[in-house]
Symmetry: D2
Amino acid sequence: MTLKFGVIGTGAIGREHINRITNTLSGGKIVAVTDVNNEAVKSVIDEFQLDAAIFPDDHSVIKDPNVDAVLVTSWGPAHEHSVMAAIEAGKYVFCEKPLAATAEGCQRIVQAEMKQGKRLVQVGFMRRYDSGYVELKRVLDSHDIGEPLMIRCVHRNTSSNENYTSDMAVSDTLIHEIDVLHWLVNDEYQSVQVFFPKKTKHALGHLIDPQIFILETKAGIVIQAEVFVNCNYGYDIQCEVIGEDGVAHLPEVSSVVTRKEGKRSTEILVDWKLRFQDAYDKELQDFMDSIRKTGKPNGPSSWDGYIAAITSDACLKAQQTGEKELIQSVEKPVFYQNTPQLSFKQT
Amino acid sequence: MTLKFGVIGTGAIGREHINRITNTLSGGKIVAVTDVNNEAVKSVIDEFQLDAAIFPDDHSVIKDPNVDAVLVTSWGPAHEHSVMAAIEAGKYVFCEKPLAATAEGCQRIVQAEMKQGKRLVQVGFMRRYDSGYVELKRVLDSHDIGEPLMIRCVHRNTSSNENYTSDMAVSDTLIHEIDVLHWLVNDEYQSVQVFFPKKTKHALGHLIDPQIFILETKAGIVIQAEVFVNCNYGYDIQCEVIGEDGVAHLPEVSSVVTRKEGKRSTEILVDWKLRFQDAYDKELQDFMDSIRKTGKPNGPSSWDGYIAAITSDACLKAQQTGEKELIQSVEKPVFYQNTPQLSFKQT
Amino acid sequence: MTLKFGVIGTGAIGREHINRITNTLSGGKIVAVTDVNNEAVKSVIDEFQLDAAIFPDDHSVIKDPNVDAVLVTSWGPAHEHSVMAAIEAGKYVFCEKPLAATAEGCQRIVQAEMKQGKRLVQVGFMRRYDSGYVELKRVLDSHDIGEPLMIRCVHRNTSSNENYTSDMAVSDTLIHEIDVLHWLVNDEYQSVQVFFPKKTKHALGHLIDPQIFILETKAGIVIQAEVFVNCNYGYDIQCEVIGEDGVAHLPEVSSVVTRKEGKRSTEILVDWKLRFQDAYDKELQDFMDSIRKTGKPNGPSSWDGYIAAITSDACLKAQQTGEKELIQSVEKPVFYQNTPQLSFKQT
Amino acid sequence: MTLKFGVIGTGAIGREHINRITNTLSGGKIVAVTDVNNEAVKSVIDEFQLDAAIFPDDHSVIKDPNVDAVLVTSWGPAHEHSVMAAIEAGKYVFCEKPLAATAEGCQRIVQAEMKQGKRLVQVGFMRRYDSGYVELKRVLDSHDIGEPLMIRCVHRNTSSNENYTSDMAVSDTLIHEIDVLHWLVNDEYQSVQVFFPKKTKHALGHLIDPQIFILETKAGIVIQAEVFVNCNYGYDIQCEVIGEDGVAHLPEVSSVVTRKEGKRSTEILVDWKLRFQDAYDKELQDFMDSIRKTGKPNGPSSWDGYIAAITSDACLKAQQTGEKELIQSVEKPVFYQNTPQLSFKQT
């Protein structure tokens, strides 16, 4: 019952997914690959000793009858085209964020998937699979801390490179909070306002860093979300939900405690890739397992990709205006409501 | 070299200060007392076996030649009158917050003190004496975490009583953050905006709770300050300064760690009076010590009381408008600049 | 390049390993199964939909030419027989602890494996694969805390069942510390003494609980190891190494932090099976990966099983005598020295 | 109601006590001083501007009718003589540890005090006044963790000077654990055995360091007490009590938490004098307060000094023999039983 993958795009994230499907996870196999760069395709086949066919483009991968599921790991602007084609072919798709380059593109995918009649698409929002967030959601769902009223979260990176621009604070960084927070509290976004603190000397000239986003949800939760991509000390993801009866914090990353030179210390990750490595494994394993067991993917849906796009757009506008901007209100179709949020069991 | 105190007001906080001067601290003595309630005066003299004269009003206490310093612990609206009289008499004053009921009243005190020519007044902002804040300031002043860019703080009480109103979130609660934060980062406030999250079911009908204040300073620091007076789980004061090179958090209150029934726990204070008890001792001991050693008080000045009043006013306005409100900019007179912020040594 | 397993014993641990090889890990497959209980074999084949042959006994499994590696998960007294047969057949063996019922049995296995000429056997000491111990070893190997001088560790279970006897504190419980600690500090055991504290009321009549073992190594490290299997509050594994320049602690298990009802709490596991679940996955994945890449298993060897048996024997004797008992000194053969301790990379 | 002190010995600890009575605490006054070094006496009177008479020897201080209480801070071998004289004169005595140089000397003091008929003596075991130990005792006394079965504690100093010898690990260092632990669990010592781990390279040639003492109490509690006076990283006092229903740990010293350079850190004290500073204040304030309120001191008694001496002697013998040594069993006289252990209230 092996799920056979066709891979579109063999850049960094594509190679990582190929590696985990081939060498770490159970139940999947890479059978087809394409990339605009021919050398990249060949090197990945060599490196992981894949028994996979090379195709000239995404369409031919998708049409290969040997392919059960398509892994879209090309660059963002190309995602919509591949996902639409896969839906039309009735094939499963695991698509890295963003689902499409625009909210309209996401909407088109949502409509195509609904028309096609069956959930096929999962978007690569891996945080929902992180054991810390899963445990945090379990605590919230148990009503141990009562109704959530506020969220404080931070997303800090040690440093950003020269290609990182102020709008990427939303599209590349905050996007993960945007997806995971509304899932965490079963709520929808209503408005956003941005504050720009004093800029750190460690940020390059063109970049506004840090930034603080105040998001409000329909239920009235106020979210204080800090994005700080040149914090200089490590990769640090924090999330704290303040409820009517108590507070729950995302766990700190586990680390050896040392006592040395007058300090009691734990390590903070510096390399962001290590933080969500297990979550990346689990999202793909769950994609395979839920298709095998239920015939459809179980993780973040096209609708979640669409919500993320709408919310991003408002955040980007709020960066420009400095005012409180409304976030477009959309009604979740029954098609996506019926999807269980995440039956995935943490162990 | 005992400092002889005349006490104006023997309510709860007055009795506590009388007790600590008499039974805990070194170098002070209560020699005169007044209160609008005669019984209260007598009971306090009995309880603490004071060798103190009873006076009919604040003026007669202040004028008593036996009195070196006046302790103003009457109700807020009466403070200005007593402080002004003490300044005119050239006597030291320790005045509980607020220094005066209005910013104008504070300004009159500032002008009177400057005219009188010598620092006489200390305001009871005790947090500057809390060992946690003192250590936090030491870390900031050492530039260990670089220039401060953001502050996140929370002020949570287990529950509020029926007399607590939404504006008291500023005048009684946030006022402590207002005083201590600008001292902590050596900066001045510029604007404030308020967000009202979903109200907790534990708050009474008339009360808006929690509230989030976003303050911006002249240097560009953005402060996210949560006031939540019915948080239901304890008295919890948090403060975290995010700098260019790292982050520093106010210490959690020290507590035995237990492992029991599947949980590893420390205790959170529920009674707020315990949290700053040492700070109350230290502010009064420092008041006495610095007068003995330098001839003037060393703690929060009339100017600090004035700044707190101006900032409070803007916060109260922001509660009404929902908009970003500017905080009046005032130039610190040389008279107050020369005063060392706090030479008080933590041990 | 799939490693084909023959499984001997389908009790609890056998089923778990079958499940992880089939549904979680990459590169292995169950092709043959035997158990003294025929129903158990059939139910496991059904449950996991195995495409596996059923055999009447261990010998027939081992001899099946389709089998590359033997998984020994029968009851302890039967281990030696199956392991010896697998070695004679030149097949890889993953054997749950104990390697054999006696130190002599372990010695026979060691000799057979050396005679056979190639490392074939891995013993199921999974703690060496736990990310916490791996990180702790990394810190020790980096000399960050200097030469180790002392170790303090505890092994606590919530409660023990009626079949658990005082000697099982060594053979079932301390055995894990015995294996992991000498690996952690690259040292060998020299002596052991036992102390019996006041017995907990939660232990059954026949059981001595808790027990404290003081072990000394050849390099002079003193290990204080507490075994307490009715601690009543959770499953708690602690380990702290005190070196010349500092101290390193095994991380606490990561958990959401809650603030509620006057307490700041994290959860302690109660179910021991959750604690080392990842380590069980990793030990078997590493067994498969290292055989695929290097032709031999990389984890705890027969020699480690032998050392554990010798050390256990001395601990059991010390329980009887109350005196300091010497632990038999044995020279590690070159055959086992050449084996890298653990090239397994933590990510 | 000021308690007037005569001070015998103005070395380091003497000066500190004079300072705190004069400048920090309430209700005491230094009125008489003596020291073998005349210059020391004069300088202390100058430094603290004491209004105190200088006497040639301990007897003349004790006999001065102006003196209510004697503070014995001379060197250890002289303590017994001064304490005996004070008892004979019916004066209160606060004596630094040791109460006397030998167990026999302590016994003589106990007998003299009983004969005199009233509790007069308090020994300077300040840990009983440390807020952490007080809170720990409160948890134990509340039976939150059930009956205590084991204690794990460490006493680590950054480094020791050249005068520190292996027996001082008992007489100067472990002595504090000896006093505080039996008080903590209301129990008495029965035996002790010593283990000598590998010596740290940071210890001087003549010194055995670290050392591990295993003490057993009459109730069967096993105490694992580590003394490590060249641990190289800080002054670190730990204490953990393992009970039938849970575990309670002495709090870590409170400190700002920083996130910087890939580490999340709190500070460990390096200077031991800071650790118990508050406890030193509280023991002397309690000495004064309890004499004022009840006519007798309330803290560690002569009997506690005697128990400490007996236990020390056994520990020193165990260092020599390497065997388990019995600790002399003595019956607590009613005279000392009636003394409340510590009515002192922590706030």
